[in-house]
């Protein structure tokens, strides 16, 4: 995620997303635990080992922050971006979409599906892990690597569209450009993001933007996608919400 590169928020950017995932899991756990809660014979073993699961679920805070984009709006934004890509690349000829893990990858896949639907010809998509190219590796313990999957057609002489969820400092994109140059030599590289929240620290801009979202640096933009988080939403929260 782009916003995780900002040193000030680096520590904060991860946990809320995990909380959100835990939230989903927690709710599922609650429904599963409900029949057990009604049955005292079933409820006792759960409490005997010191864990009162239904109580824990109740304590989970409601999703903090304001939803700025709902599922339909994300869908429409992606459809518009897909059409912009078609316009600017002569019908997506020679286009390869590369998503930046984690959430850029499903976004690239969705854009590819839209391009394929409109043009009637397969547009390849893949993923580009940038972990080994980050400039903040030494600020945190070694990170787990993501997948890099380059479509069989390769990227040499293609128009590569990098896809990410949030554009913030621009450092992720810088790292992605370095990673790309080690993989081959595209004819052109373009950038598509779902949300541009400003506060660039490098001379980088997006070619396609789903939504411009003016933010303060204290705020946190969190993109949730069905593939990774169980639902589609863009949530804006402040430190106070957490």
């Amino acid at each position: 995620m782009t916003h995780a590169l900002q040193p000030g928020t680096a520590d904060g950017a991860g946990p809320p997303a995990e909380n959100a995932a835990a939230e989903v899991a927690g709710t599922a756990g609650a429904t599963a635990a409900d029949p057990a809660a009604g049955d005292p014979a079933m409820a006792n073993p759960a409490t005997s080992d010191g864990r009162s699961e239904p109580l824990q679920v109740d304590k989970e805070p409601p999703p903090a922050g304001k939803t700025v984009l709902v599922a339909d709006e994300i869908g429409r934004a992606l459809t518009r971006v897909a059409h912009e890509i078609l316009e600017r690349t002569n019908g997506a000829e020679d286009v390869v979409l590369l998503g930046i893990p984690t959430r850029g990858v499903p976004l690239a896949r969705r854009l590819a599906a839209r391009l394929t639907k409109v043009e009637g010809r397969a547009v390849p998509s893949g993923s580009l892990d940038i972990t080994m190219y980050r400039d903040d590796l030494r600020l945190r313990p070694a990170r787990t690597l993501g997948h890099t999957v380059v479509p069989a057609s390769g990227i040499d002489d293609k128009i590569v569209v990098l896809v990410d969820d949030v554009l913030y400092s621009g450092r992720t994109v810088r790292a992605a450009l370095d990673a790309l140059s080690d993989l081959g030599r595209p004819r052109a590289v373009q950038l598509a993001v779902l949300v541009d929240r400003g506060h660039r620290e490098l001379p980088i801009r997006a070619d396609y933007v789903g939504k411009n979202l003016p933010t303060s640096q204290r705020e946190l933009v969190q993109v949730q996608l069905t593939e990774t988080d169980g639902q589609d939403a863009v949530i804006l929260s402040t430190e106070a919400d957490r």
Binding site: D129, M132, Y133, L137, R138, L139, R140, P141, A142, R143, T144, L145, G146, H147, T148, D178, D182, L183, G184
Partner: protein
Amino acid sequence: MNRHLISAGDLSRDDALLILDTAEELSQVADRPIRKLPTLRGRTVVNLFYEDSTRTRISFEAAAKRLSADVINFSAKGSSVAKGESLKDTALTLEAMGADAVVIRHQASGAPHRLSHWVRGSVVNAGDGTHEHPTQALLDAFTMRRRLGRLDGLRVAIVGDVLHSRVARSNVLLLRTLGADVTLVAPPTLLPVAVSSWPCEVSYDFSATLPKTDVVMMLRVQAERMSAAYFPTVREYSRRYGLDATRLALLPDHAIVMHPGPMNRGVEIAAEVADSPRSTIVEQVANGVSVRMAVLYLLLGGAELATTEVSR
């Protein structure tokens, strides 16, 4: 993960799987036009080799270089060690040069452990005496997982000179952690005294073990470490514990044959077996680079630990 990699037994299941998964991602680098990542730019890795080694030293060197680290090779021959310098003094010299990691191979078991108290960087054990060789065990596990798709419940037979083998000990510890079932097959003279306390089975009958085995790992007969007669003749050893075509036929169809190298063709493994498609010996070497890249990345790639945890 620990700051050092001294023993395969120090790795938790999560640590080991993290290394294998990271190696899986890094193995792609070998297929790229530019086989280099900028991750360890400006870091120094010292290869400190007191014992002869070809593949391990080259493998570590290639791994460090693919991650853009600076590599200093130090071998005991032709260095101040030949003039009588102690390990500690050598360590202090390396420390003064600012080594971020020291990869050490030493003829004495426990040397990497001692070294870890004298240097600030990470120490990676590249084989110490008859003790351990954790990166070899990791690359073996990596090769098994790639070929057979899993490690949990895998039946592995480690055959031959277990007594002098650091590979065997590391593999037994790591494979146990990862859920595989290990059987050691060797003549009683070539098994360590305390083998009953190892988390594995022991068998003296090679042919009877083969049909219920997914992986056969052949060990080299380490004649250079043998100070006594451990078996009557090489021919007799080869007849009873060597892997030839007849024995290969006893294996299930999916089973693979491994060897950490260097091989004694005709002693523990027949040439036709070593060159058969079921042998992963060349693959193991290639996988070694990926696994060592993963280890170096996970030990050196993140935040500097040295300032928070200076020993001594």
